[in-house]
Amino acid sequence: MIAGGVRVLNVGLPLIVDGVDPDAVVQLDWRPPAFGDADAARLMASLDTERTAEANDRAVTAMHAVRPQLTSIRPAREVVPGLAEGRLLLHAGPPIEVERMCGPMLGALMGAAVFEGWAADGDQARALLESGEIAVAPCHHHQAVGPMAGVVAPSMPVVVVEDGGRQAFASLNEGLGKVLRFGAYDDEVITRLRWMREVLGPVLDAALRRSGPIDITSLVAQALMMGDEGHNRNVAATSLFARRLGPAIAVEESGTEVLGFLAGNDHFMLNVSMAAAKLATDAAVGIADSTVVTAMSRNGVEFGLRVAGTGEQWFTAPVGPADGLFFPGYSIEDANPDLGDSAITETLGVGGFAMAASPAITQFVGGTPDDALATTRSMRRITVRPHPAYSIPSLNFTGTPSGIDVLKVLDTGVLPVINTGIAHRLAGIGQIGAGIVTAPPEVFQQAVRGLADRRSTV
């Protein structure tokens, strides 16, 4: 009568299947779903339909089909929508009022205002920001991303990645130490920014024109084979980038200076691969009925989540500091709450999701290679399917888990793992460590409600 024979999935008491042949039983280690929120669990079950599965398939296919090319490095005002006129600065994370911003973000915005010549000093910059004469907006609202404070100002050079007429942008990485993205804006920082605007940007742009666009997907894929995980470790990717563009840079005036800068900045490629990840995940934004995550981002106060089926809506929850290993002399006491758009890399399936590729990073954040493998495996439980381009040797060359499904996160209770740098809570001190954070459960509980609202109004 039962097509396929009676084979039982037992959800609960073993007593129920006492009389059943053990070979015909799969016993579940069931736990209450949705982090114990029964209403969210019901919505999760109601959205778990064929329609959702098809939409998620479309969303992930769209994300994986994007092949971002690094084509040029241009001043932001030329290319980033909305920056051509007026006084607008972009920042990392979901939207936030100036009054609520954390130290590093406010410092970075103040520094950017001084850099643009809109203010004579920090105090004046702060007044202009607080009065709204200088407007602020999230990078994500302008096809851009930025690590840590993520500040983009109109005259800063940005990387331009493109695929089929779509574009995404990111600032250039300044290196470690006293840098704007950690909220520092003294003369040293401003001087470096000017050099980047006047020398680094133009030289790299010219070199790119000479050598032709760079395929970022294949460059990142190669770097994963070389021990990067694509978020906290970028030394392989940066080396590949410098090697690829080196000859073209060398012939430029000031080329040696630029090569020297690249040689001293292990993280240069992070911003480029973030822009590439943003371009890829943006391909899924607005795909109706899809429960795939399109952005995870932190502004130093809140964690923000965006989901394909709810378009540009943010789901937010308070965020705390990352814990991990601290540089000598610092402790978690000094740490700022988690910050930056860089979790876009995990959104696509690298960074924390590619831990298995990077035994070196495991040591950096505390743990063993076994932990790294376990982390990547557990991310499989909450994603749609492996990324076809990002295969990992230690996982028998299967791809990294990609396409976080809100429903799977709620069903399993497994939260996305994010590798992150840790900023000092005071503006300008810089990076003081690195570690692992998980997204807060609340944003997924909110997201399923948002998705259900959207579904019921269609």
Binding site: M1, I2, A3, G4, G5, V6, R7, V8, L9, N10, V11, G12, L13, L15, I16, V17, D18, G19, V20, D21, A24, V26, Q27, L28, D29, W30, R31, P32, P33, A38, A41, R42, M44, A45, S46, D48, T49, G366, G367, T368, D370, D371, A374, S378, R381, K408, D411, T412
Partner: protein, 497 residues
């Protein structure tokens, strides 16, 4: 223990590990070659005494409560030491790692299906709050559902049963206790022989009684599909019953269909009977309390009547109705008849038969929430009923006691013994007061059940219980006794001997 045995012990001073780790440690050491016994416990005085008693503690070993002690008995010293090495490695591995636990069992329905995509039925016994979530997930993945969980709202039941019906899937329950699908028992069910009769049941013990009577008659069961107690209510409207009918009518192994339920909503019953009348094969509707009638559908008001009609549809006769002579009615020393039941539907059947004969009686369903007070269900913990039985022995107004005994998967391992002890005590108490307590009953079960019906019957018979082949037959005998004029003590002694 042979003299070739070796005992090795290691003590880890002031070592704290969580219980799960200790358990895993012992289990891994146990798997090593040549290992006979393993103990991994905290070295408290009580545990040292337990180890000493088990011959797993060398003399003179000193340890304090916060030490971890691992003791291994093996075929030889090398094996014992090797096992201890395994255990110790487990301890230090814990030190090095971050202690993340490796996932072994699948956790969610989707993960379960990823492990084995051939699953066809989900059995759900989660807390009621989450049962609708899991049931919905299962239905959306095309699984039939056996839902043991209760505390599910009627609104959820209707919504999910509609969803199941659209997909032509069975949603058995919520609060479904019994099913046999293609020979596989789920929940509380008996080991009945396979055969041509399918049962669709809104009542668990009702289905058990009918299936066991058919088994005894040599007829077998193709399917038992539980539908949940509310399926034939106005609100639910027989949603699962209709899907179940579609399935059994398409089942090549089914020739006769039996419906078992306590009285249903009249509107739902009418619609169902109309459908049953035109299915083109014998249908018996066993609806407790209804008048017996023969038409397109054979309607029977008792479980036994339903079982008899189903048996006769396949050319067999029930032992209880085939003319086996029943003992002459006993003369009761008091007119009171009390029934102490563990099976709810069996109690209902008793009330129907007694009511038809106009015999007044107290019939208690001790599985009902109001009597399980402070105790497990009496089918699982038979001692709950024993007290009621004993107490009945000292009631001067009680002349006859009716009992049932339900065995099978899920029931207690030996429910007969506590009942037999209680019956002995009750009868002795009555005897001391110069009365005789007549105890009458039946056992619902089969020879193939884990408890075995013959052994259980023998235990009851030895205690003086008059056993009948069905609950209905036992009740009929009670009716006959209660209808007799009260007689002398001597008459009774003679009849019972």
């Amino acid at each position: 223990m042979s003299s070739a045995d070796a005992l090795s012990v290691r003590v880890f001073p002031r070592l704290y590990r969580d219980s799960v780790t200790l358990m895993a440690l012992a289990a891994s050491a146990q798997k090593a070659d040549g290992v006979v016994r393993v103990g991994a416990v905290m070295a408290t005085p009580a545990n040292l005494a337990i180890l000493a008693e088990a011959g797993m503690l060398p003399e003179g070993l000193a340890a304090s409560p916060d030490d971890l002690i691992i003791s291994v008995r093996a075929t030889d010293e090398t094996a014992a030491d090797a096992a201890l090495d395994v255990a110790e490695a487990g301890l230090s591995a814990q030190d090095a790692g971050t202690g993340e636990r490796v996932e072994v069992l699948p956790q969610t329905l989707a993960e379960g299906l990823a492990v084995d995509a051939t699953c066809t039925v989900a059995a759900v016994s989660t807390p009621g709050t989450y049962a609708p979530v899991v049931v919905e997930q299962a239905l959306r993945r095309g699984l039939h559902v056996f839902c043991f969980s209760d505390n599910v709202s009627v609104a959820d039941e209707v919504r999910l049963k509609r969803m199941a019906a659209e997909r032509n899937l069975l949603l058995m329950g919520p609060d479904c206790g019994t099913a046999i699908l293609d020979g596989t028992p789920l929940g509380f069910a008996n080991a009945v022989r396979p055969g041509p009769i399918a049962m669709i049941a809104a009542s668990g013990t009702g289905a058990q009684e009918v299936s066991c009577l058919l088994d005894a008659a040599g007829a077998g069961v193709s399917q038992i599909i539980g539908v949940g107690g509310r399926d034939l209510s106005e609100d639910v409207g027989g949603l699962t019953t209709n899907v179940a009918l579609d399935l059994v009518l398409a089942d090549p192994g089914t020739e006769v269909v039996v419906l078992v339920s306590k009285p249903a909503s009249p509107a739902v019953a009418d619609a169902l009977l109309a459908r049953l009348g035109s299915v083109g094969r014998p249908v018996v509707a066993c609806l407790l309390g209804l008048e017996d009638s023969d038409g397109a559908v054979t309607v029977r008001g008792t479980l036994e009547g339903g079982a008899a009609a189903a048996a006769s549809a396949v050319g067999l006769e029930l032992a209880t109705t085939s003319g086996t002579p029943e003992p002459p009615p006993a003369t009761l020393s008091a007119r009171g008849v009390v029934g102490l039941y563990t099976g709810g539907t069996l109690a209902s059947e008793a009330k129907v038969i007694l009511g038809r004969a106009d015999v007044a009686a107290e019939i208690l369903d001790l599985g009902d929430d109001k009597y399980t007070a402070g105790r497990p269900h009496p089918m699982i913990d038979p001692s709950a009923r024993a007290e009621h039985v004993e107490a009945a022995g000292s009631r001067a107004d009680v002349g006859l006691l009716l009992v049932d005994l339900v065995i099978g998967h899920g029931a207690a391992a030996d429910p007969a013994t506590p009942l037999a002890d209680a019956v002995r005590a009750a009868r002795a108490a009555a005897e001391r007061d110069g009365r005789t307590l007549v105890v009458v009953g039946s056992v619902c079960g089969t020879a193939a059940d884990p408890q075995g019906i013959d052994g259980q019957r023998a235990i009851l018979r030895e205690a003086g219980v008059l056993l009948f082949a069905s609950n209905a037959a036992a009740v009929r005998y009670a009716v006959a006794c209660a209808s007799q004029p009260p007689g002398s003590q001597a008459d009774r002694q003679e009849e019972l001997s």
